[in-house]
């Protein structure tokens, strides 16, 4: 029997009397039984009404342990099972399967935590034993009110929508396609490639970043199952796992595949604007290519800059450019969504280490562009007259900031997290410079060096060997960049050096490089659209950092790459592949299974006071105008239960956590307390 609407009421105790409860208490080796007198607990619990079996096991999770549960369910006709063992986060699923194998509805099982929350944290054995008894007694009270539940199942539309055409999005799309899934890839900008395209070489292999990137791009764009939309903006999205409908707006590219003389067209354009690809170190035309060999290999027109003067059209003889092209809107149907919206380098505040004031105070990403042979300066660094270039790297800019020490960001927070990639990146770049300019004088002002990845530590060692200087500052007293009063260098960087017991050091520098952190790309509108959980660091928040690292709480939506937090290319690709395989697995199932702990409105009791409508974080509650009552969308509801506590008529109940069940727990826990 399965719960039906309304049966999830506050007083659903119709099972109370025919409950046949089996209680299995785990020794967990000695983990539990060394502190909790499990035998005594078992005896105490055995006396309770409805309990037909109360026993202990060395390891309930072991095969014999699970076997015993199955056997007893059949043998004694148990219709409720309680396991008191470790934390449900570890074995709840295990035991649900166990009881299911024995033909009992898996939600007639209750998992009680007497290890992490009793034996491991208690010293007094007597009191610990009493506590364990109370907790299991509460479970006995609770399970009497449990009712069989079915997982919810929803059919999945066999297409994946990948949002973001950076390395993570590309890898996710590729992996999905290679598993035979239809994929639609949507990129906001006119060209694919994202941040990786702005790098030169990748650590630790040192291979060419754009070559590596292009391999993936080719795999993707040439795959028959993949459709790519560039210049595409997400307008809105509705629906739920299995059946998302996402409306996108595709901006006109201006140029098309019939354009043969790209160079002429670009050369003919009279309009110039800042080139974001070079982080503002260079200019580009209104009609432009992101970088040589970018994809699509067709120029795009930046309509904010373009005046539609027509010079480009004239320059190419009117073939392949259409200034009158209109944007179009299409709706994409997909069963799952992979968010690969990526990140941006931290933009230092005006005046932070002189940034914005002195042109020679630049960020690491800018430096990397400068070192690109095809970059703004053809790979040339600013020179110090005849002498060797003196470069100061300052680490942890916009990373690991400290409340009270660092200036607050516009969002009122400080960037207190480690950006993870900048240590290795800075050293990697510093070494590249050393190779081209052995005479260069390079110093790193850092608080900690975190070259944590495989092969990354080697950069640190090689840097030290190759004479790169390290100055360790105390995060509470960050270095200072000042104009050189004597004028024989551009700046002096002042700091104290913990490595030399806090000596003050001054370094003349021609170039100051800020190893900047990483911030999530601004996707606030998507966050609203998909009801993403966002962490205090503003990156998207996964369901569980360890057990479900690439899933959002909203089922059917997955996380790939830096939208979730700072990652290097290796990690971003790994995450993307993980997200892809999760998404693919979901599609392959053909349907989703979801926990049944959703909210349900008792139509008899609902008044239509509408208090709940503004409460649901997932807009799962709507008002049915005809009857003037609230209804919960099964598919949208994620089972937080907030509306249950909100409803002033107790007309909303949550399966698995209804008032009767939780109140029974409270009262059972407090049995005897009434006597003081």
């Amino acid at each position: 029997m399965v719960e039906t609407p309304g049966s999830c009421s506050g007083s659903g105790n119709e099972h109370e009397n025919d409950a046949r409860i089996g209680v299995f208490i785990c020794h967990c080796g000695g983990n539990i039984s060394d502190v909790v007198d499990v035998k005594r607990v078992a005896d105490e619990i055995g006396k309770l009404r409805g309990v037909v079996l109360s026993t202990t096991q060395m390891f309930v999770c072991s095969d014999p342990g699970q076997g015993l549960i199955e056997q007893k369910i059949k043998e004694l006709g148990l219709n409720r099972v309680i396991v008191a063992a470790c934390s449900p986060t570890l074995h709840q699923l295990t035991f649900r399967r166990t009881v299911a194998r024995a033909g009992l509805n898996q939600f007639l099982f209750e998992h009680i935590n007497v290890r992490e929350q009793v034996s491991w944290v208690s010293e007094d054995k007597e009191l610990a034993t009493q506590k364990a008894t109370r907790l299991i007694r509460a479970a006995v009270g609770r399970v009497q009110h449990l009712m069989p539940l079915d997982k919810r199942r929803i059919a999945i539309h066999p297409t994946a929508l990948v949002i973001g055409g950076g390395i993570a999005g590309l890898v996710a799309a590729r992996d999905l396609a290679q598993r035979g899934m239809k994929v639609t890839l949507v990129e906001k900008r006119p060209f694919l490639g994202g941040r990786v395209a702005q790098l030169n070489t990748l650590f630790p292999t040192g291979e060419d970043a754009r070559e590596a990137l292009n391999k993936v791009i080719e795999d993707v764009v040439n795959h028959p199952l993949v459709t790519v939309h560039t210049n595409a903006q997400i307008l809105d999205s509705e629906g739920v796992v299995g059946d998302f409908r996402t409306r996108i707006r595709i901006e006109p590219r201006g140029a098309n595949e019939h354009l043969s003389y790209r160079g002429n067209a670009i050369a003919a354009c009279p309009e110039q604007t800042i080139n974001e690809f070079d982080f503002g170190l260079s200019q580009r035309k209104a009609i432009y290519m992101a970088y040589p060999g970018c994809y699509p290999p067709i120029p795009a027109i930046d309509w904010h800059t373009c005046t539609k003067c027509g010079k480009c059209v004239w320059a190419v003889g009117g073939k392949g450019i259409d200034l009158t092209e209109q944007p179009r809107e299409i709706t994409l149907h997909s069963g799952v969504i992979v968010l690969a919206t990526g990140s941006d380098p931290y933009e230092p505040l005006y005046g932070e280490y002189g940034y914005g004031i002195f042109p020679r105070v630049i960020t690491l990403p800018q430096l990397i562009r400068l070192l690109d042979p095809q970059g703004p300066t053809g790979g040339q660094l600013p020179r110090n007259g005849g002498g060797p270039t003196r470069i100061a790297f300052i680490h942890c800019v916009g990373a690991r900031q400290i409340e009270g020490v660092n200036q607050r960001q516009p969002d009122g927070k400080v960037k207190d997290y480690c950006a993870r990639t900048c240590c290795t990146a800075a050293l990697h770049t510093a070494l590249e410079i050393k190779q081209q300019h052995p005479e260069a004088v390079i110093a790193n002002f850092y608080q900690d060096i975190r070259t944590y990845g495989r092969g990354h530590e080697a950069y640190y060692e090689r840097a030290s060997e190759s004479g790169i200087v390290f100055v360790r500052y105390d995060p509470h007293h960050r270095p200072m960049v000042e104009k050189d009063p004597k004028g024989d260098s551009a700046f002096v960087v002042k700091s104290h050096d913990l490595l030399t017991g806090g000596l003050d050091v001054e370094m003349p520098a021609d170039l100051v490089v800020l190893a900047t952190g990483v911030v999530p790309h601004d996707i606030s509108e998507l966050v609203g659209m998909y009801h993403c959980a966002v962490g205090s660091d503003s990156f998207l928040l996964e369901v569980h950092p360890k057990l479900r690292p690439v899933e959002l709480a909203v089922s059917g939506v997955f996380l790939a790459g830096c939208c979730q937090g700072p990652m290097d290319v290796t990690e971003a690709c790994a995450a993307a592949s993980a997200a892809a395989s999760k998404a693919a697995a979901l599609i392959a199932q053909g349907q989703v299974e979801m926990d049944p702990f959703i909210a349900k409105v008792d139509e008899e009791l609902c008044t239509g006071c509408q208090t709940c409508l503004t409460v649901c974080p997932y807009d799962a509650i709507t008002r049915e105008e005809t009857r003037g009552i609230a209804v919960v969308s099964e598919a949208r509801c994620t089972g937080c239960g907030t509306c249950v506590a909100t409803c002033p008529s107790n007309a909303i109940q949550q399966f698995g956590f209804n008032d009767a069940q939780v109140l029974a727990e409270v009262k059972a826990l407090l049995q005897g307390a009434a006597l003081g």
Binding site: E604, L605, T607, Q610, T614, V615, T646, P648, S649, A651
Partner: protein
Amino acid sequence: MSEKTDKAGGNGKLKIGMYWAASCGGCDISLLEIGPHILELIEVADVVLWPCAADFKYQDVVNYPDQFIDVCFFNGGVRNSEQEEIARLLRRKSKTLIAYGACATDGGIPALANTKTVEGIFAASYHDCPSLDNPAHVEPQPITQSEYGELEIPRFYPQVLRLSDVVEVDYQIPGCPPQAERVWEAILALVGGQLPARNSAVKVACFDKSVCDECPREKRKVKIKEFKRPHEAMAEAGWCLLEQGFICMGPATRSGCGALCVKANLPCRGCYGPSGEVQDQGAAMIGALGSILDASTEERAREMIDHIVDPVGTFYRFTMASSDLKGRR
């Protein structure tokens, strides 16, 4: 019903009693509000106890055989020993005992006294009031010696109890006072034997839903920006008072009154007690109210909450005695 009456050896008419305990008399009035129906009622019923309307004395009731009264409406809470004694007496003498009105069902306004101590209450009345002349600090006593004999008044209880705290109740009729139309319907149902099975949890002469169900004001699905007290601002006509920031107990209050207060431009104060299957009206309202504040930070939430000047008196205006906690520590 009628068949029972015959067994009682009566004239075939229903024997009805109405008793007030700790209440204001509004319940007695509300029963009269059935107006023209009174004459119909007289056709089918005899009053055998109604101290404020007819001349029956306690001794009469004592002399009635048990179960003599077919239906006894008991209004008012139990504030003193006499009221408890009468309640027990009437339970014995009545086939059906109905807690009538907010005071009997939930304690009502008098149960606000449960937020105060007995010394406090006596002090306010007999020791510390501006118009007092009580040099000897006299207080009323259960027994006073007079020249001719003892004079007795009932013992004042530590707090107000619901009728169902002292005797088993068959039905509850909430409201301060209950609305006449609803009551008349209930009486008809009673006479026709149409009422649900007796059970102290059964509330009759009202609905299960909340006052919002009867409220004509429109909801705009907005969260509360700031709280206002009724005298502090003019309410916009036609728009939900709660959304405007006037704390209105409507969502947490059983319907049946016809949303009269709200129609008079003033927020509901919850006299019909909790709606649906809710036990604790105040807790239910706190749960709802806390969910619809337009506050994104804890500081802001606290600021807003600080403008709720009297939580207990607002959320438990009529239901202190039926709340989970029943009163002050």
